[in-house]
Amino acid sequence: MADNGKQHAPHRGDMTGAKALWATLANHGISTVFGYPGGAIMPVYDALTFYPEVRHVLTRHEQGAAHAAEGWAKATGEIGVCMATSGPGATNLVTGLADAMLDSVPLLAITGNVASHLMGTDAFQEADITGITLPITKHNYVVRDVEELPRIVAEAIRIARSGRPGPVLVDIPKDIQLAAFHSEIPAPHARPEAPAPSPESIERALELLRGARKPVIMAGGGSLDASAEITALARAWDIPVITTLMGLGAFPSSDPLWLGMPGMHGSVAANRAISEADVLLGIGLRFDDRVTGRVNGFAPNAAIIHVELDAAEIGKIIRTHVPVRGDAKQAALLLTQGAEPTARPEWQAQIEEWKGRTVTPETYGAGYAVKAVVDRLRPDDILSSDVGQHQMLAAQLARFEKPRRWINSGGLGTMGFGLPAAIGAGMAEPGVRSVVIAGDGGFQMTAQELATLKMYDVRNVKICIINNSFLGMVRQWQELFHEKRYSEVWLGDSNPDFIKLADAYDVPGYRATTAEELPAAIDAWLSDPKSALLEVVVPHEHGVFPMVPAGAALFEMIETEPAKSPDLSAQMQDAAEEASEA
């Protein structure tokens, strides 16, 4: 038998469904799979031993596997693959799939299931995972015939990558994994071309841009692969650019046209420019409510041009005057060709003034620490974050010159995302530093993945924990909107000694507790030849500002952290109430 792991052309009768699965993945150039075995997927794990060119990374939780695959996909733009057994294994993937759905991450999830004849009988470790993941996958499959398996996997990969990317799940009953496979392994699908925008829509967009006196471009996660074209477009028209949380890096932060991030914790310049703009050109974004604030106060004076691949996003939230359906790259190129640079001195002066109002954290705290870390990043470094105050601070303070260097959970806001995503990204690009900023809360949701670092001797993951002893972001809202009733957000007494925890996994640990200690600690941490952990202990009560209260419009933003007084919560509550009444 010629099946030595190198040969993927099937031979009649000598292949199982499980081998056909690996052969198909290998054919698609999948080099790494993150997963966790179990009873219902054992034939697949058994067959893995025949395919040494596919690396399987054993995480310590299936959620870690899903986020690691996401980190891989977000850093490379290529599909990430994760794998789990039936029942509890499969349900542990669910959070990662929902996360990938909301952030449009191309992900393939393979789950084992109980044997076909047991499905539907509440068998041991049976869960209806295709039913469970119906609303949080782009599509999902149960393989019912082994001969269909490679075709389904190939199609799943195509669906995950094409159009607006997203997660696809393939559930494979155990008997199908074991069944003899006789068909051909199909060649990978060619990647479909993204649809070109219609000439009329481009013409209409150009018309609006030509007449614009206060234009602004807003680029989202769907524009990351059109970064060069969008940069050229903005420069050709001399239009300022806002990048959303998911779009950070789509436009170089060092460019004077960059205004920062919009939305709840956006920059003064970005939110103000949106509020005053007469034409807003949105590219590859979906007007999330964290971006728009109160919808009827969003860009109230602007005609909206929306370039988007997913037709369902056009007009879903914000009324669009010129829908441009199609590929961001092509649209940006066409809009650049029609560029007519216009001097808009007043708009420019206004923008400069707003940009001057950037907040830099001066006193030692979470913001100060995050800034100290991100200031030390090199343009190639990948920065991941977990979810909370540190995430918003990193998004505000980090500077990105290139796309796909910023990895975070935007749409779902998944605590526990950071460490496994940074591991996935670090494994995708072993030559690049993969830095993750996490809170003391979120880090503990997937801290066990330190073991993955140890097991695979990953050397380029740098973990920074901003330890404020609180679930900081929730605490901030309690402070502002619940009269400082700090209900169930205090972690301080029960937090582990993070350095000892890291040590338990052979990960070197460093700690800073003051502004003075910080620079040396960062140096030592970053220059450690191994993956390492830095804990920065910061004062408990620090907020993230600017902030637009939930339910308020972007122009109702609060710029700087106000002196702590009861007035503030009253003031913000008023703004929020007024907004919800309007």
């Binding site: 295709t130 039913g131 119906l134 609303p135 782009k138 599509h139 149960v142 669906i159 649809p195 219609s198 009329e200 829509s201 209409r204 609006l208 003064v268 103000r272 509020s275 005053e276 919808v295 009827n296 106060g297 860009a299 109230p300 004076n301 602007a302 005609a303 909206i304 997913d310 037709a311 369902a312 056009i314 007009g315 879903k316 009324r319 669009t320 005057h321 010129v322 829908p323 359906r325 707003w354 109002r357 419009a553 122009f555 109702e556 933003m557 609060i558 710029e559």
Partner: protein
Amino acid sequence: MTEVRDHLLSILVRDEPRVLTRITALFGRRGYNIKSLSVGSTEHPGVSRMTIVVSGDRGVVEQAIRQLEKLHDVIKIIDHSLEKYVDRELVLVKVAITPESRVEVRQIAEDFRSRIVDVGRHALTFEVTGDEGKITAFIEQMRPFGILETMRTGRIALTRGSNADIPAHVYHEGETQALQPTLEVQPREERARHVPNLF
């Protein structure tokens, strides 16, 4: 806001497991209201056809169409409000009868060209086919006698086959037709009244 009314959609779908769940779950999750739903096979093996009546304004229906178009199982959607169509519904109505009312009930049914499908001592069951207006009128006529039970199949619809009536977009495979640019650029309809300077 445009007016809220009923929209008839025909959805051609791959005949695969869970396809009905996928479609109804999409409507449920996004809060679109299904007024009626009927499903059956088509002249093509492997392809089923659904007629869904959704109520909402134009915006809601366009959004529903675009979300449906994203489903891998959906082959084509026809929005019947954009063209001429025929639609029918089949209803079974069980009406209470007494020796006195029996003749009158039968007479009304005859006027509606309704067939009797079951005869009982105290009730007659009728089958009525027609458009919504006819069925509503039938039920209203029978109501005074006492309606014991009704069952409706939900509406089904087809584009009119007199070819001149079929606009190109109905069988057009390309881009969604829901994406016509707004011709006039007006200020956003919900323009904020004032922009307080909090900056």
